[in-house]
């Protein structure tokens, strides 16, 4: 029997876990990362001569749930054509029996790594608004992400912001029947529903009782595993936590406390009770835009001093110009020329 060195052992473990891409048009380049459900590899699309990312289940169909979840994720992604959502190109099953899908290969950094290099608070907030755009679009297509966190946001080499990892995404169509009377936010997110076959599948896969998500970013109702009560406000909770992370910039050398209106926006977004949160991502984003524009935000009631200070901050140049003009006029009146 052949003796295998330690190096050979590692090579064999890697070869054994490497996806079998024979029969596909993809050629393996390298392993990227391992997630809860599968691994991501970089590959070359031989036909189109471009780099792509492959998400592949770790094992050949160890149970149907995982394959179904990966297929579900690929179908959800296929419905979400938006510049802020990673596009999917292909899906299927490899020769070794493992389910996979092919998506755009995003060269860039994860948000938590990228944000450390962005010093300006307005720049960080504008970046966050692009995440909101993508999530708002997904909600408009009846899809909840359910796992929004810094590690699932990529910032590309040209500044593009992409929401990744839709493995826990849930279709909200069943809420239509549950809330046929026309509740507030659900009306927005169930306007455009996917095919009925999707509804059954997603319900079975991420049905009530399963707790899926990331502690710290997961809403209380999601943490309870009560998925039938989830709606857009569950993602808004995660976005609130994400905004707090982005605004506070934990990697920054010096920490400054957040402005009160911004803190209030965060706190409203991740309020314990979902009824106290923003009713839609669009409302949430609008409040943040108002903050960026120096306007009053809906999440925070200002006192007179704060209102005056904000007014001064917003019209600082004009106020200074008028003040200078008035001072000059006064000087001319007080000290007229002979």
């Amino acid at each position: 029997m052949r003796f295998l060195s330690d190096k050979s052992l590692e090579k064999l473990r890697s070869a054994g876990s490497a996806p079998d891409l024979s029969g596909t048009r993809y050629e393996l380049v390298r392993f990227v990362a391992r997630g809860g459900m599968g691994s991501v590899y970089v590959a070359t699309d031989r036909l189109l001569r471009r780099r792509v990312a492959l998400k592949i289940l770790e094992h050949e169909n160890p149970n149907d749930d995982l394959s179904a979840r990966l297929l579900h994720e690929s179908r959800v992604l296929a419905q979400l054509e938006h510049p802020g959502i990673v596009p999917i190109h292909d899906a299927g099953t490899l020769a070794d029996g493992r389910a996979f899908y092919v998506m755009k290969f995003v060269e860039g950094s994860r948000l938590d790594q990228f944000i450390a290099g962005v010093a300006s608070l307005p720049d960080r907030l504008r970046l966050f608004l692009r995440v909101c755009d993508a999530v708002s679009f997904a909600h408009s297509r009846g899809v909840l992400h359910r796992d929004l966190k810094p590690a699932n946001i990529m910032v590309g080499a040209f500044g593009e912001v992409l929401v990744m990892d839709w493995g826990l995404a849930k279709l909200l169509s069943e809420l239509v029947s549950l809330r046929a009377s026309g509740a507030d936010s659900e009306t927005l997110i169930t306007d455009k529903l996917p095919a009925s076959s999707e509804i059954t599948e997603s319900t079975a896969i991420t049905g009530e009782g399963l707790i899926l998500g990331t502690p710290g970013y997961m809403s209380p109702e999601q943490a309870r595993g009560d998925s039938s009560t989830l709606d857009a406000r569950s993602d808004i909770f995660s976005l609130g936590k994400l905004l707090q992370f982005i605004a506070e910039n934990p990697s920054a050398v010096s920490h400054t406390s957040l402005p009160r209106p911004l803190r209030a926006i965060c706190e409203r977004a991740f309020a314990e009770n979902s009824a106290d949160r923003y009713s839609s991502v669009a409302d949430f984003a609008s409040d943040l835009v108002r903050f960026l524009d120096g306007q009053q935000v809906s999440a925070y009631r200002e006192n007179l001093f704060e209102r005056t200070y904000r007014f001064y901050q917003r019209y600082q140049a004009a106020i200074l110009l008028i003040t200078a003009y008035l001072v000059m006029r006064a000087l001319f009146i007080l000290f007229p020329r002979h």
């Binding site: 052992l9 054994g16 459900m37 770790e58 070794d96």
Partner: protein
């Protein structure tokens, strides 16, 4: 008893129907029991031998005697009957049994000399000793029990993969695919740095896409054969999936 390395090759002697070695050894059928022991010995004797050599600092002769004695005791005292898959993995159980056996042997040194009428396993200790020496392991560099566990696990993987490589070689011969094995050998078994597919294609007079396909086939078969051997020594499907994940990584 036949040498386990040969008898268990290609998963050949052990029935493909799903009966775990533990169940077969516990069972009453002597033929099944003997085959199951072959499979178990084939997977574990080298890790056990090297583990005894390293952890208890035994000489090659002492370690050989203790390894022989351990597997005989495993069979005679039917130690696997106490194994509970829900409580631990088989390899952990085997390692703990080996620990207990060696400590008892040390405590009651000379209590019983094996030989004579006692069953003797035909194990190729010279190859195991050669491997052990080649690895040049310094016991001082493995001070904690956790590291001994890691060592045992690594040797178990080495033993399993070595057997699967042998199986793959036999399969390539049987299927008349010598190029596939030589590509696998050059790319995945070599200690040298990675070679390009184009380079290997030129050396073998085939196209780069042939290299991709043949290598993919060999890897797929290697994985299948390793999993087949793994399945044979796992008590439950859950244990098998867990072990398969730890072998090939991921969740």
């Amino acid at each position: 008893m036949a040498p386990p390395e040969k008898s268990a090759a290609a998963g050949g002697n052990f029935p493909q129907t799903r009966i775990s070695v533990v169940a077969a050894i516990r069972g009453g059928d002597p033929t099944e029991r003997s085959r199951a022991l072959d499979v178990l010995c084939g997977a574990y004797w080298k890790p056990v031998y090297k583990y005894i050599r390293l952890k208890f600092s035994k000489s090659p002769e002492e370690a050989q005697d203790l390894t022989q004695g351990f597997f005989v005791e495993l069979l005679e005292r039917n130690l696997l009957s106490r194994f509970a898959a829900e409580k631990s993995r088989l390899r952990t159980y085997v390692r703990l049994c080996a620990d207990s056996f060696v400590l008892n042997e040390i405590k009651f040194a000379g209590r019983q000399k094996r030989g004579g009428e006692v069953v003797h396993l035909a194990l190729d200790f010279s190859s195991a000793e050669g491997e052990f020496a080649a690895q040049a392991i310094n016991p001082a560099s493995i001070p904690s029990p956790v590291h001994f566990e890691d060592f045992f696990e690594k040797e178990w993987i080495r033993s399993l993969f070595s057997s699967a490589v042998t199986d793959l070689k036999e399969l390539c011969v049987a299927r008349d695919k010598p190029t596939a094995f030589s590509l696998f050998e050059a790319y995945d078994l070599s200690d040298e740095g990675d070679r390009s597919y184009a380079q290997m294609a030129a050396e073998n007079g085939i196209s780069a896409s042939d290299v991709t396909n043949q290598l993919a086939w060999a890897r797929r078969e290697f994985r299948r054969l390793a999993q087949e051997r793994l399945r044979a020594i796992c008590e439950t499907d859950e244990e098998y999936h867990h072990e398969s994940r730890s072998l090939f990584g991921g969740g």
